[in-house]
């Protein structure tokens, strides 16, 4: 009986799901190599007086999330390593590549260059928050699938979030305008032409879904 159960158990837990599980359960955060080594870090540093409240509530993807955030922590770190929202990627950590782009109050921001504490009371939207509750993809996500816009797709969430934010200000852009709108994102596969085609399709899908 025992043997049978172990054989039936899922064979491989993906690395990503394992990390997510670890974060959600709140244990052994330091077991994953690239996660914060928060405990070791804080040992080595003297905290200044009056550090203030660290347990804050962030509005992420429409949910109120209580999370313990260091004062110097970037939003990208909080999203990925505290809230388990690993769809937001960290490419350069220097406001250069755009992979970490999320929407803050509907406006695209590089989340690597925003302190998590400064977005209290604001609405943060990540790639995980785009699809509707029933699993229907956002029209821009659907556009990307329709056109197979990306190669390795590491930069994809950043491009999609940037495009979604841009389309809120200009729902019917020319190809040139959209290229300018997403120009704050880099793709190392140099797949820009197909990305643009996919996001143009996404813009079209968005307009159609609003009509319908």
């Amino acid at each position: 009986m025992t043997e049978k159960t172990s054989n039936d158990a899922p064979k491989a837990v993906s690395r990503r799901n394992f990390i997510k599980g670890v974060i959600t359960s709140g244990v052994a955060v330091s077991s994953a190599g690239y996660l914060f080594r928060a405990s070791t870090l804080l040992h080595g540093q003297q905290l200044t007086g009056g550090v203030g409240e660290r347990l804050i509530t962030l509005n992420v993807n429409g949910q109120q999330r209580r999370v313990d955030v260091m004062k110097q922590e970037t939003l990208a770190s909080t999203l990925r390593y505290k809230l388990g929202l690993t769809g937001t990627k960290l490419g350069c950590d220097r406001a250069e590549c755009g992979s970490c782009t999320v929407l803050i109050d509907d406006i695209p921001h590089y989340s690597c260059s925003v302190l998590a504490h400064t977005v209290r009371g604001r609405k943060v939207m990540t790639i995980e928050g785009l699809a509707s509750a029933d699993g229907t993809l956002h029209p821009v996500q659907q556009g990307v699938i329709d056109e197979q816009g990306f190669q390795c797709a590491f930069c994809m969430s950043g491009f999609i979030m940037t495009a979604v934010g841009y389309l809120k200000t200009n729902p019917n852009p020319t190809r040139r305008e959209l290229a300018n709108g997403i120009s704050g994102c880099l793709c190392r596969c140099q797949d820009y032409d197909k990305i643009l085609t996919a996001l143009m399709r996404g813009a079209e899908n968005s307009r159609r879904s609003k009509l319908g």
Partner: protein, 342 residues
């Protein structure tokens, strides 16, 4: 290439909601405090561990520092832009677009959309130089040392100064600064002793005055707002930015001009360039020389030659001399700027 480390060194983050509170905090913490606007200059310093402030004072929660207001009766005297107004807000503001298009144009060419969504006008004019020796933590003149690593035969100085260098050869990287100088903007500064209003061109300083700062702010001072008088509202404007990459990049050089002509004749003009020196340069000699002259290629040619007088190239930036000459020439003669097509 920046190294990604897991987290910035610890600091305390203070988030005042009024200028008075911010000033109190800055007075309390003195040189331990770092003023945070949009953060796009600050985070590089902090992530690289070159600057390690104990306290960061975040201005983003101060409502009175945000937004564009008209001054005088319905904007008859101009506008006032809160220092924490984002560049995107500046670019999209209808009055700035209609009357002070030079500023909108310059702000739209800053960095990338995401950076403009977060970066502020106050931060754009107050940001530090991008000389990589200095940014990389080398103990150069600007960092308090006694050598310039860029001004050596092997130094990588393609982006550095051709004018007014004094030991340090770093340049000011702002795009909006020359536009604000051309528009005769005034900068409103709150110091511990009270309010001070200075001309845009006097906000910036070169290494001859203080080699460790690009602007006049001292610890405890805050840039509150930028006032643009109506003097140049609706004038003829010219802005051009030259950079290696058409997005994100800092200017190798830029030029901003505001001009009022009568017929062909240049009646009034203000022109400034940035990327040539440690401060954006207002070209007064050029202004004086072209006033009263026809706005044509000959005047432009003369202005360009005049602008570069006294320029001294370093090992790798001699191209900046003809670049500056041509930018000034184009700004004066009003030639359609070179456009890039995909």
């Amino acid at each position: 290439m920046a190294v990604i480390r897991d987290v910035m060194p610890a600091f305390d983050l203070l988030q005042p909601t009024s200028v008075a509170d911010a000033q109190k905090l800055l007075a309390e913490h003195g040189s331990d405090a770092w003023v945070l606007a949009g953060g796009l200059d600050s985070f590089d310093w902090l992530k690289d561990r070159i600057r390690k402030p104990k306290v960061v004072v975040d201005l983003s929660g101060i409502e009175e520092l945000r937004g564009v207001r008209t001054t005088g009766n319905n904007g008859s005297e101009g506008i006032e832009i809160g220092a924490m107004t984002t560049l995107t807000e500046v670019v999209n503001h209808p009055i700035i677009q209609q009357k002070y298009g030079l500023l909108a144009e310059s702000a739209e060419l800053v960095a990338s959309p995401q950076i403009r969504n977060q970066g502020t006008i106050g931060g754009n004019v107050s940001q530090d130089t991008r000389c990589w020796y200095y940014r990389g933590g080398w103990p150069c003149y600007r960092a308090g040392g006694n050598i310039c690593y860029a001004d050596t035969p092997e130094g990588r100085n393609r982006e550095h100064a051709i004018l007014h260098a004094d030991r340090c050869v770093a340049v000011n990287p702002s795009d909006s600064a020359p536009a604000l100088i051309a528009l005769d903007a005034k900068f409103v500064i709150r110091t511990p002793k009270g309010e001070r209003v200075v001309d845009a061109e006097d906000y910036f300083i070169g290494p001859d005055i203080d080699i460790t700062r690009l602007h006049i702010l001292r610890p405890g001072d805050l840039l509150m707002a930028i006032r643009i008088p109506s003097t140049w509202a609706g004038a003829q404007f010219y802005f051009e930015k030259i950079r290696d990459r058409n997005v994100w990049d800092f200017p190798l050089m830029n030029v901003a001009a505001a001009m009022v002509t009568s017929g062909d004749t240049i009646e009034r003009i203000r022109i400034a360039v940035n990327g040539a020196a440690a401060r954006p340069l207002r070209l007064k000699t050029v202004e004086d020389a072209v006033r009263g002259k026809p706005r044509n290629a000959t005047t432009g040619e003369m202005a360009g030659k005049l602008a570069i007088q006294g320029a001294i190239p370093l090992q790798f930036n001699a191209y900046k001399i003809p670049l500056m000459r041509n930018l000034v020439k184009r700004a004066i003669s009003g030639v359609e700027e070179a456009t890039w097509t995909s």
